[in-house]
């Protein structure tokens, strides 16, 4: 029978032996990071600057008539994301944002210089048989860019294996 005075103390119910060996110390818990942080390579600022540069390139390409640059940016973004070990849930919205910003820049530039972009958007929507609101044509334009970027990203994501 165990000593009542030992009740509640280490080894109190272990019959036959007293003073069982201490368990191995547990590994300290890993610090919690948001899910998109772990695994990527390179500083985040660099990635952000790269994205901005991509958006500017898309905008310049649009001015040159290279409407397909969002797709190319999507391809490049997919490859870079694989290399940088970014997760899809990060790469996807990033590529969409870069494409949308890339095509929004020329529109904003024209508007800043006094061109009636909103009125033109309304005209475009009306000519296309869509509801004649400026937001409809602007949204359609940005969607075309975003679709291209996502398609490009999807393609490289499928072609390049996970590292």
């Amino acid at each position: 029978m165990s000593d009542l005075s030992r009740l509640g103390k280490r080894g109190a119910y272990r019959l036959g032996r007293l003073g069982a060996p201490a368990p191995a110390p547990a590994r300290p818990p890993a610090p919690h990071y948001p899910s998109w942080v772990p695994g990527h390579r390179g500083p985040v600022l660099l990635w952000l600057l790269g994205s901005l540069a991509a958006a500017v390139l898309i905008a310049l390409g649009a001015a040159a008539g290279w409407w397909f640059l969002p797709f190319v940016a999507g391809l490049a973004g997919g490859a870079a994301a694989r290399y940088g070990r970014w997760r899809l849930r990060v790469a996807l919205p990033a590529a969409a944002l870069v494409a949308a910003v890339g095509w929004a820049i020329p529109l904003g530039w024209q508007a800043l210089h006094g061109a009636p972009v909103r009125a033109t958007a309304r005209v475009v929507a009306a000519l296309a048989g869509l509801p004649p609101h400026a937001s409809v044509a602007i949204a359609a334009t940005l969607i075309v860019a975003v679709l291209q970027a996502l398609a490009g990203l999807w393609l490289t994501w499928a072609l390049i294996p996970r590292r």
């Binding site: 905008a59 649009a62 409407w67 033109t120 000519l127 398609a151």
Partner: protein, 882 residues
């Protein structure tokens, strides 16, 4: 891992790559090339090059110097705050070149649409929905006529030189756009871009206007009516001469001076020049017999005499052909062929006007589209000073004034379209029988490019009369005066530089189509009018019906210029044309019937009533008439209507009494706020229906074949005229009694129709008659030329109806009316003022401030000063340098 698992894994890996690969290819393909009628959205929505570049075209121009290749000397351009340019050049060549450039700068899409329309190339831009229009136009042959005109035009002539300079100016603008890639949104969105301009394009646009004003399918409607109603009733209800009181501007006396041949080398002239007209071999029915049985007034002096080669009655095959062709025409975009008879122009001089010189007013009524059919401009070069409105795509000014004369136009609306039933045989394919022998049809082959669809091949057969328009039922060709090469441009350039009536009159001698009433006023105080153009006369047959094509009913010639309707310095010091029959019943030539060919004359009567006896009238007086909303028919009918309602024994409900009391205190003004106007219009519609619909129903008139030409409605000028006449002078006419029904008189039908009208209005607008404002029933809209609803203006509640001087045509949502209002007052030699306005704006770009900035002024009856030729007072100035 089993073999099967391994295979499935490999397949999955392949699919994982293949699916995105295919999806990307499809996406990029669709974005790059489009699919069906879906445009290539990649380049179209590219924010740097696509539709968005049109935003810069919407910005107002700023003062600058521009380089314009082809100029010999600099040209100064000065824009008013509404974008009306004044061009000053050192030569006519430079002036016209600059005009071409400026027109294209602000109306390129309109110009391209118009040339595509006439050349049968609309489907290339608009897709499969436009194929039927292209087929129709290629059959009719505007482009063939334009090519013929250009081929016949000596290159050294002033007209050819003007066309070449104008073409150069348009192409200068196109070159700039190509360089800057700033296309109008319409092209960027469709991915179809306009090619270079050519002189033929300008001549095709001239043809568009001719078609709009002069091509009609009324003879086909007559065929359907006669088949259903019989010849006697058809000619009684759609007579040649108007039965009502009208006011021709040329009251006579008239002189019959025989006929002159058409211009050699045309389809019509080939027949008239080479044929020997022979009596028809088949049993025939003479025009005299028909009209005598129908209406004593139906056969005017000058009607075609003799026996027609046409068999009695309308054969079923003719009905089939007419139905097929009408269906094709009804599918065309609105306004492509002549539909509504509305334009006004008048002049006054001497004591009638302040200052004792002369004054002119003009308001052509055409489809009120945005952009407008007009582009306002002032042009100045040595020997050429003119201000007014031009037609985008054509050099010069069509309506306006120079330093000495002012002029405006209304459509004469004489019959200029003749249909022929060609005799063909299955044993002789590709041939037709004419002038005693079988002839081979000439064939022209076309390939119609279709955006988003396969190209369509079309073969057009040509006979001596003109193109075969349908082979359904029978082979039907059309002999249309618009297919006769007409030096309209040369005439207009000569009119632009005329200094007096003699020069004006001489210039118009060569005008052929569309026949127009040219109204004139000069700085010496003279006024005049002449209905220039071709009036085809057939030796036999009834030209208001399809005629036999074997030769007997061919065109024998046209009325000599000296005998066409005209007047100079009338004794009453006032003259007015509003598409009414320009001459009285004793005019010795056939020029058309009451059905579509002429207006019922209400507007003309109203104008004469407003101006008659006027002394010291001013531009404000004319403006008041131009914007008048008085319905003359209402004023004529109201006494009979109220008399019928108040006859002893007539019982009216309380609501009917309220409606009647509205009419009793009404002055006939169709204002938007007038409840009486609603009562009147609904009554007249129901009155027409009550009288004629039973006959239509019994005779099974095929209204669905051509609702605009056959439906019982106020749009049928003939029915309005005869019903007015019967109501006022023949209330016991047998037509009031429905077939098989009890005998009725006009008052009985009036009371029934009034009750129906009140019931209709109660159901639609509620039970309080005082709240039945006309504007709740009636509106105007100015549709976009692109047919995009959101780019048009309206519908907006509006006053007016087809018979008010300020006309509103096209039904309860009117889309046709005064497309330009102009008043020119001469105060001394070389001294005068002009004012004008049109519902729209100078720019075709909907994002521009000049897109519809004149609508408000037009709507409120205000005018803008027309810049005098050579003006440099504008707020924006360009210098165009070689």
């Amino acid at each position: 891992m089993t073999l099967e698992q391994r295979r499935s894994r490999i397949a999955w890996r392949v699919l994982r790559v293949a699916i995105p690969l295919v999806a990307c290819a499809v996406l990029l393909g669709v974005l790059a090339f489009g699919y069906g009628t879906v445009p290539a959205l990649g380049p179209a929505l590219d924010p740097g090059r696509g539709v968005w570049t049109s935003a810069s075209g919407a910005e107002l121009p700023h003062s600058q110097a521009l380089s314009l290749p082809g100029l010999d000397h600099p040209v100064q351009v000065s824009f008013t705050s509404h974008g009306v340019p004044s061009l000053r050049a050192a030569s006519l060549h430079d002036l016209v070149l600059a005009e071409g450039y400026v027109q294209a700068r602000f109306r390129l899409a309109q110009m391209d649409l118009e040339r595509r329309l006439g050349e049968g190339r609309l489907a290339q831009l608009a897709g499969p929905s436009a194929v039927s229009s292209d087929k129709f136009e290629l059959r009719l042959g505007l482009v063939r006529t334009a090519e013929q005109e250009w081929a016949q035009m000596p290159r050294s002539s002033a007209t050819a030189q003007a066309l070449l300079a104008f073409t150069k100016g348009v192409n200068d603008d196109l070159a700039q756009i190509r360089r800057d890639r700033q296309w109008p949104a319409l092209f960027s969105l469709a991915g179809v871009y306009p090619g270079d301009w050519t002189p033929v394009d300008s001549l095709v646009i001239q043809g568009d206007l001719t078609q709009q004003l002069g091509f009609t399918t009324t003879p086909l409607d007559y065929a359907l009516l006669e088949r259903a109603l019989g010849a006697r009733r058809t000619m009684a209800w759609f007579p040649v001469l108007p039965p009502n009181q009208q006011h021709p501007y040329d009251p006579g006396p008239y002189r019959k001076a025989g006929l002159v041949p058409l211009q050699p080398g045309t389809s019509s002239s080939q027949s008239s020049a080479t044929k020997t007209v022979r009596p028809a071999p088949s049993p025939s029915r003479s025009a005299v017999a028909v009209t005598a049985a129908g209406d004593s007034a139906a056969r005017p002096a000058g009607s075609p005499a003799g026996r027609s080669a046409r068999p009695a009655g309308v054969p079923a095959a003719e009905v089939t052909a007419a139905s097929a062709l009408l269906a094709e025409v009804n599918a065309l975009p609105a306004g492509q062929v002549h539909t509504y008879p509305d334009s006004n122009a008048w002049a006054a001089n001497g004591p009638a006007v302040a200052g004792g010189r002369s004054m002119l007013a003009g308001d052509p009524h055409l489809p009120q589209t945005i952009p407008s059919i007009w582009y306002q401009v002032a042009l100045s070069a040595p020997g050429y000073q003119v201000s007014g409105v031009s037609v985008p795509g054509l050099p010069g000014v069509l309506l306006g004034h120079n330093q000495h004369i002012a002029w405006s136009l209304t459509d004469t609306q004489n019959q200029a379209t003749l249909f022929y039933t060609e005799r063909t045989s299955k044993s002789r394919p590709g041939q037709y029988f004419w002038d005693g022998a079988w002839r081979r049809m000439r064939q022209v082959h076309y390939t119609i490019a279709v955006r988003g669809g396969a190209a369509v091949r079309l073969t057009v057969d040509l006979t001596v009369h003109g193109p075969i328009m349908t082979q359904a039922g029978q082979t039907t060709s059309v002999d249309w005066m618009g297919n006769v090469p007409s030096p309209d441009l040369a005439v207009m350039l000569a009119v632009n530089t005329a200094h007096d009536w003699a020069q004006f009159h001489a210039a118009l001698a060569n005008w052929r189509a569309p026949s127009q009433n040219f109204v004139y006023a000069d700085d010496q105080g003279h006024i005049g009018a002449i209905s220039a153009g071709y009036y085809p006369e057939v030796r036999h047959g009834q030209p208001w019906l399809p005629m036999t094509g074997t030769g007997a009913d061919d065109v024998a010639g046209v009325i000599p210029y000296s005998s066409v309707p005209q007047v100079y310095d009338p004794s009453g010091h006032v003259l007015a044309t509003a598409n009414q029959r320009p001459v009285g019943p004793s005019y010795p030539y056939y020029i058309g019937t009451t059905a579509n060919f002429f207006d019922p004359g209400y507007r003309a009567s109203q104008i004469y009533a407003a101006l008659a006896g006027g002394r010291g009238m001013t531009p404000a007086t004319f403006a008041g008439v131009q914007t008048s909303l008085t319905d003359p028919l209402a004023r004529r009918i109201l006494p009979a209507l109220l008399g019928a309602l108040h006859q002893p024994g007539a019982r009216l409900t309380a609501r009917q009494q309220q409606a009647a009391s509205l009419l009793a205190g009404w002055n006939g003004a169709m204002t938007a706020s007038s409840a009486a106007a609603s009562v009147w219009w609904t009554f007249w519609t129901d009155y027409l229906t009550a009288v004629f619909r039973p006959w239509w129903h019994t005779a099974a008139v095929p209204v669905h074949r051509d609702p605009s030409g056959l439906k019982v409605s106020p749009d049928q000028a003939s029915l309005d005229e005869v019903l007015e006449t019967w109501t006022l002078r023949d209330p016991g006419n047998a037509a009031f009694t429905a077939p098989g029904g009890p005998r009725r008189t006009a008052p009985q039908v009036i009371r029934a129709a009034f009750a129906t009208a009140v019931a209709h209005l109660s159901a639609k607008l509620g039970g309080t008659p005082s709240q039945w404002a006309w504007g709740r029933l009636h509106s105007r809209q100015f549709p976009s030329l692109t047919q995009a609803d959101a780019l048009g203006y309206g519908p907006r509640a509006a006053g007016g109806d087809p018979w008010t001087v300020d006309a509103a045509d096209g039904g309860l949502v009117a889309s046709q009316g005064p497309s330009w209002r102009m008043i020119v007052a001469w105060t001394g030699p070389g001294s005068g003022t002009g004012q004008g306005i049109y519902p729209g704006g100078q720019s075709e770009n909907p994002a521009s401030r000049w897109y519809e900035d004149q609508v408000a002024d037009w709507w409120n009856g205000r005018y803008l000063p027309m810049p005098p030729p050579g003006s440099s007072a504008g707020v924006i100035r360009w210098t165009l340098r070689p």
